[in-house]
Point group: C2
Chain length 382, copies 2
Amino acid sequence: MDTRTGLPVVGMVGGGQLARMTHQAAIALGQSLRVLATDPDDGAAIVAADVHLGQPTDLEALRRFAKGCDVVTFDHEHVPGDHIRALAAAGETVYPSADALLYAQDKLAMRRRLAELGIAVPRWRAVSTADELDEFAAGDYPIILKTVRGGYDGRGVFVIEAPEEAAGQLATGEPVLLEEKLTLRRELAVQLARSPFGQVAVYPVVETVQADGVCVEVLAPAPGLDEQTAVEIQQLAIRIATELDVVGLLAVELFETDRGILVNELAMRPHNSGHWSIEGARTSQFEQHLRAVLDYPLGACELAAPAVVMANVLAAETTAQPLDERLHHLFAAVPDVKVHLYGKRTRPGRKIGHVTALGTELAEVRDRAARAATLLREGTTH
Amino acid sequence: MDTRTGLPVVGMVGGGQLARMTHQAAIALGQSLRVLATDPDDGAAIVAADVHLGQPTDLEALRRFAKGCDVVTFDHEHVPGDHIRALAAAGETVYPSADALLYAQDKLAMRRRLAELGIAVPRWRAVSTADELDEFAAGDYPIILKTVRGGYDGRGVFVIEAPEEAAGQLATGEPVLLEEKLTLRRELAVQLARSPFGQVAVYPVVETVQADGVCVEVLAPAPGLDEQTAVEIQQLAIRIATELDVVGLLAVELFETDRGILVNELAMRPHNSGHWSIEGARTSQFEQHLRAVLDYPLGACELAAPAVVMANVLAAETTAQPLDERLHHLFAAVPDVKVHLYGKRTRPGRKIGHVTALGTELAEVRDRAARAATLLREGTTH
């Protein structure tokens, strides 16, 4: 409890853009997010008032950080489960719990658990040898190889065209799993928040558009998705959240295939597939996560406009103009998109921000968001 | 320029809720607002990363604060004009300028200037003696007495029912002016932003509802206002901003009377009459102020919903529940209003936050906002 305000203190481990945007949401709720950053120049650290420095793998740093927090939560999956258990054993409130977060940290545990629950997933197998890989592929390449831990934004995911391409990864001894390479109609995602009380609030199902394994665009709601499938997907997410006892946000990434809807990945934190909600839903995912982990009643998830498009801004290799000038061009050209910059140093390919457009006609809204993202990424060529 | 991000640094003098909400907007723009607070527990100081302590009347503190800022701006009117001139003479960029801000600081200067411009205002007169007061009133009480400087939120404004009621105020020697007590149909307000380049972006005209001289509710757009009058009011505001060379936000508070629209007050900063814009307009007043003082192209001002209502939350004398519990009740009862808490210690009558509701039917939206504000102010009586 913050004695200055009589309101709770939420601590978030990790100082990236998710913590940065959660701090914005915390301000409206009368709070000030406590951030555990690894670098004083982290995106959240340079905007928050209550910043601690420390590694997410350092239990003593986590213990010091948690002191005085009403709840500790995460902007990434890098805190070891045993550390979370140690905090909980010491009486700290941590959401999601170690037992729940495991399924967002460990793809093998997640696949096994979802299989137990009878939830449709791609065909998969844990492997450690070339023989096992050959057996899984049965001559039918390409297949997908994923590291069990540490993957995100396309990292830790490899398309294997021939057995020898997996040799290096298998030689590391790091646990990996294989998945069939599916022909996707498209990728979808659904996000919900669940409170310790058990209240659940689900956002509309969205379409996520990927390029080179990285999400570049999110369309809310997923265009052309029939109402019944949308409801089934929402129910699936509720079932997963309830079975895994998730508290806070859960993002379920999905494949839409000829075999139906398959679960790809889980995340238990604010997620890129939900950035559209800042302006596009009545309650943003960041506010919702705070409400969930604090056991406040959850906010309304309704869309604020018929069509909402979020486009990520990945830094270009080179640009003719500095970021501030590109922002001028964007604002001049597209006065009605919303810009979110993450306060990061620019490095090619790095997500430096996103833009969100709202409107009534998806094609127009999508074009507007893409135009804004391009201007912010590349500037103009006049 | 912030060398970590390549983006500008805006410094805001004053650490209240306006700076607090401006910091939220700055985060999205990739910035971190620099705040000059008088107390480390000020609402903005407890959420911002870049906080300086100092009085707005201390020129040396202002000079230190301005170093490294790309632009200095204000969350109140308390910085003396000569200090602003001294900063500008030293090469600092300050918006609004001292010459413009004067008309928001000094009601007499404002009335004189608007009169010169032929803009309709209430009948008024500067007075310093009881004889002058008698002469102005001509036996027709009540009249309104206003201090020339320092008034806001109903402070510095007195309804004078009989000459002797003004004696105390006149005896202070502080400059005052008198105004006729008008029969108002209602109060309106219009807000715009103007950039150094001269671009202007105007928000829809809103109705402001007062109780005991304090704004309690803002209805956007002003219900039942005919299109032509709305445009005339917007044009009036543009004319004032251009004539006074305002940079940043300008709020024009208006009386709707049988004699037409009269200008009551001016403010040159984010203003309570524009809080609805955080969710209710495509570009919030806080983002717009930053864009204006930085000479970025301005954002779209369109309404995000047909009816938007902002209700202030003034702390109650006593409450059965602490703030955090009242927030629980509010969230449970009204899941689709947006809450903004200012991080202030509760003191009866103090504005501790506001709520905003959006929808299609004004009566329903207004009821929802009022219900939320009451729950946040008083809690439940179960």
